[in-house]
């Protein structure tokens, strides 16, 4: 199929074919059109494809062959924790008693599902050291916004309406400042210091009576643990602000440290990352939030609790921020995370973090031979290199990423975090073997040699993929967002 247009499903369509077997009309037919004004009866059928079942399978199998996942090969995409997605998780999520239950069934008929959720909630409280957890948010970003809304409600309940600012480090993920805006706050930036950590002096400058919260990722997006976390918590708390933990990087510290013990008031987790979601080509995720006792009353409703030995969804929560999502969260993803936690237990989860960190440091120490490492201390589960040395040779980080495609790897996250020039953010995860890491290291080192000896080879990469570099400028200037025949 190389170098040829792969047909759209619409281009495979032929009038008269179908891949669906509809049940019979086994009731007396009535004339529907009598019931509706003519203007409400659709005149032109939507242009969905008409294809046979085999054609559907061929089409999507073909598309899957044009896609790369963790099962295809190494995927060290920093900040995304692309670890192995266990197959038992997929199997249990498809059990009828989990996949075919309705959120409005009476709770007495879904106690098994609620038991699982309750157990997951309790486990996540323990892992994070938070008092109570809600499984309602759909993904990390929604968890962030939920957490900030709770912080807002907390301040307002104290009669404090002037806390309009949320502080985010310059290294923060884009969803942090975006969530602050959606929650009605103004995002203000705190700088990082020469060690890649939050600059305490700058923090003291920006913190004040208008501070609602500080949002922090720890380890941060450079993969570095914020060693002065206790002091930071004190500074923010003393000013009356709350501390928000972006748990996207929890994979580094399970069993070693807990956000609750570090003084965080609100935490969100990305179950699709640390807890094997999977990532689904972009989602669905799940972004539970955990809170300290002080903030418990503000959790989204309903909350899941035990009452007289029965599990119930409790709606009588007068201080709750309300509902953030219909029903009870992304149950199917929560179930997969639960299955993973039950597979690993306390011992396994601690090993996960131990090996995630070991793998990252092992790679970092070998790659720093050829790539600049702006922050040389031990890293946690990921590290950030700078391609500035290669840039001087005319080879950009983007080129290095594209060259990795030729060798069958998914590149690291690039150009993030923003406070590193030509950033390459590498997160190997604990599920990769030493041989896999060694293979990737070798290729990265040889790409560095190519940059010196044959820069064009790298600049013009990829050479072996089914398509070459895309014209993104035209895509954005003259957007074609749907098929037209």
């Amino acid at each position: 199929m190389a170098n040829k247009d792969f047909p759209l499903i619409f281009e495979r369509s032929k009038e008269g074919r179908t891949s669906y077997s509809l049940p019979e009309l086994d009731v007396p037919e009535v004339n529907l059109d009598d019931e509706f004004e003519a203007s409400y009866v659709r005149k032109t059928a939507p242009n969905l494809p008409e294809v046979s079942e085999l054609e559907v399978m061929r089409h999507y199998t073909g598309l899957s062959n044009r896609n790369f996942g963790v099962d295809s090969g190494f995927y060290p995409l920093g900040s995304c924790t692309m670890k192995y997605n266990p197959k038992i998780n997929e199997d249990v999520a498809r059990l009828d008693g989990f996949s075919h239950i309705h959120p409005y069934q009476d709770s007495s008929t879904v106690q098994g599902a609620m038991e699982m959720l309750y157990d997951l909630q309790t486990s996540l409280s323990e892992i994070t050291g938070m008092h109570e957890v809600s499984l309602q948010p759909a993904a990390g970003a929604q968890g962030e916004w939920t957490g900030l809304m709770m912080i807002r409600a907390y301040h307002e309940a104290n009669g404090d309406f002037n806390r309009t600012k949320v502080i985010v480090p310059d290294s923060a993920h884009g969803t942090n400042p975006a969530s602050a805006t959606v929650a009605g706050f103004e995002a203000v930036t705190v700088k990082s210091n020469e060690k890649g950590l939050v600059d305490l002096e700058d923090l003291k400058q920006v913190v004040g009576e208008d501070t609602a919260a500080l949002m922090l990722t720890n380890p941060n997006t450079l993969g570095l643990f914020e060693t002065e976390i206790v002091e930071m918590a004190e500074i923010v708390h003393e000013a009356g602000g709350k501390l928000y933990y972006d748990g996207a990087n929890l994979n580094a510290i399970m069993g070693y440290a807990r956000p609750g013990d570090m003084g965080f008031d609100v935490v969100h987790l990305n179950l699709h990352k640390t807890f094997t979601g999977p990532h689904g080509g972009g989602g669905p995720g799940s972004g539970p939030v955990g809170v300290s006792e002080e903030l418990e009353a503000f959790l989204p409703k309903p909350i899941l609790m035990k009452k007289d030995d029965k599990l119930v969804f409790e709606y009588d929560r007068p201080q709750s921020i309300g509902r953030v999502k219909p029903y009870y969260g992304n149950f199917g993803i929560n179930l997969r995370a639960y299955t993973y936690i039950r597979t690993m237990g306390a011992e396994g989860l601690k090993k996960v973090s131990e090996y995630a960190v070991l793998n990252a440091n092992y790679m970092m120490r070998q790659l720093e031979k050829e790539y600049d490492l702006p922050y040389p201390q031990h890293c946690k589960h990921e590290f950030v290199l700078s391609g500035r040395r290669q840039k001087k040779l005319g080879v950009r980080t983007l080129d290095i990423a594209k060259r990795l495609l030729d060798y069958g790897y998914h590149p690291p996250t690039i150009y993030f975090p923003l406070n590193v020039e030509e950033a390459l953010m590498v997160e190997p995860t604990e599920t990769e073997s030493k041989e896999t890491l060694d293979g990737f290291i070798d290729i990265m080192l040889s790409i560095s040699e190519e940059a010196k000896n044959d820069p064009e080879l790298v600049q013009e990469a990829p050479h072996n993929t089914i398509v070459k570099r895309m014209d993104e400028t035209t895509a954005a200037r003259k957007p074609i967002l749907r098929y037209e025949d």
Partner: protein, 449 residues
């Protein structure tokens, strides 16, 4: 204890520590201040082996009454439709489900093209020129639409019909607190929006009017009348939330000049799974193209002129615009959008209308049966596949008795509409048989007494 997801051997560990130049992995954690070190073992259940865990979870699953072992008449936003086998076979291909957001187009053409096709299908169904790659669900998609309308019109007042899904309305209210919007709910009359009330509330401060079509009660709102009222206020936007299956029969909201159309594609290939993950869609006009939340895939060509697809118009998104982004959404519902695409491809152009009308025929048969059995119905206005009936007892009590007969009864409307005490919302999809419907009416009649 050995863990099958962790390939690290003792020898590997030793070699790697030597390379790093440390004695133990503990040294790598020495940057965690002792004050915040966690010094005991996490208190979690013991790890379970694969066989044991499968059994444990199967037992847990079996404690739940499920929609496959019972005949279900429960809908209210989540429906029991037939899912063709191909759907699960496609989404189980791990090149799809173990990938993430297609940042590297050269090795992600599969996902990108699948999204482009999804965008096209949603655009076709809704009659809107543009659709995005997915939102978390219908409820949050609607809330984002509301916030967009306020930002676009620089107005704060939002009129939301009470016939919009109660949980979507709850989510709208939560999202509205950020930008401080004023959410005004419009009454219903026997399950359809009270247009007089709507007209009396509509003014030059109204950012948008939100209508569900078909609405929460299954009834078909008069979109042309609503549109006429809105048009009297220059900038006010028209937001419609739609069950996309119904659009196989009904005129799409795009033809009534909707500005934003949202909803959930759960009806296409996504199991109920206790309410999520489902899949929100978001469709709009060309004018709002650069305000859309979430990811958009566009068609382009590569250096050799080969057609391909990329994430595009990213200057709207959080990773570029940070606090100025049009939304904070990052991960979305890509795999479920794929499931819906496969289901929509299977159903096809002509199948869709057949499937929609099959739902409508069976629902009408059921409704007539209830009328014949002497039940009162809430309304005789046009509807899709749901309708409300009045019982003499509480719905909760009735449903408990129905379950003994293998029937999952309808939704208890009194939960969200206190004025509709003892009213049950009944959903009839294409997979309910005549026998099941007859049995349901009979059992309800017996309980009804």
């Amino acid at each position: 204890m050995e863990f099958r997801y962790l390939p690290m051997t003792d020898q590997d560990k030793k070699d790697m520590l030597t390379t790093i130049g440390v004695e133990s992995t503990d040294e790598l954690f020495s940057d965690i201040p002792s004050k915040v070190r966690f010094n005991r073992e996490l208190n979690l259940k013991r790890p379970a082996n694969e066989a044991q865990l499968k059994k444990e979870l199967t037992d847990m699953a079996n404690k739940n009454a499920n929609l496959k072992n019972n005949s279900s008449f429960l809908g209210a936003g989540v429906y029991d439709h037939f899912i063709p086998s191909v759907v699960d076979h496609v989404i189980s291909r791990s090149e799809f489900y173990t990938a993430y957001t297609p940042y590297q187009p050269e090795i992600s053409q599969g996902e990108l093209q699948a999204i482009f096709e999804f965008q096209t299908m949603i655009s076709e169904l809704t009659g809107m020129p543009i659709a995005n790659s997915s939102m978390y669900d219908g409820g949050t998609s609607l809330a984002e639409a509301v916030n967009l309308s306020a930002a676009q019109t620089k107005r704060k007042k939002i009129l939301v019909s009470k016939t919009v899904h109660p949980e979507s309305r709850a989510v709208i209210k939560s999202y509205a607190k950020g930008p401080n919007l004023d959410i005004v709910e419009i009454d219903h009359k026997n399950g359809v929006t009270d247009l007089e009330h709507l007209e009396s509330q509509l003014d030059e401060n109204t950012a948008s009017v939100v209508i569900q079509y078909p609405n929460f009660f299954g009834q078909v709102e008069k979109l042309d009348r609503v549109r006429d009222l809105i048009s009297a206020q220059k900038k006010t936007m028209f937001i419609v939330s739609s069950n996309p299956l119904a659009l196989g029969y009904l005129t799409p909201p795009g033809e009534f000049d909707a500005d934003i159309v949202v909803g959930d594609t759960q009806v296409f290939g996504i199991p109920a799974q206790f309410g999520g993950p489902h899949c929100g869609y978001f469709a709009t006009t060309k004018k709002l193209m650069r305000k859309v939340p979430g990811r958009l895939v566009g068609q382009t060509t590569d250096e050799d002129g080969v057609r391909g697809f990329v994430l595009t118009l990213q200057a709207r998104e959080q990773h570029i615009r940070r606090d100025k982004a049009t939304s904070n959404i990052c991960s979305n519902q890509a795999l479920n959008a794929l499931a819906s695409s496969v289901a929509m491809s299977s159903i096809g152009k002509h199948g869709l209308k057949k499937m929609a009308t099959l739902n409508m025929q069976k629902a009408r048969y059921a409704k007539q049966k209830f009328l014949d059995a002497g039940f009162e119905v809430l309304s005789d206005a046009p509807f899709f596949n749901e309708f409300a009936i009045k019982l003499t007892k509480s719905v909760k009590e009735v449903n408990a008795r129905l379950l003994e007969k293998g029937i999952i009864g309808g939704y208890d409307l009194s939960d969200a509409y206190p004025e509709l005490n003892h009213h049950m919302l009944v959903a009839v999809t294409e997979i309910r048989t005549k026998e099941e419907i007859d049995a349901f009416v009979k059992e309800l009649g017996d309980i009804h007494g």
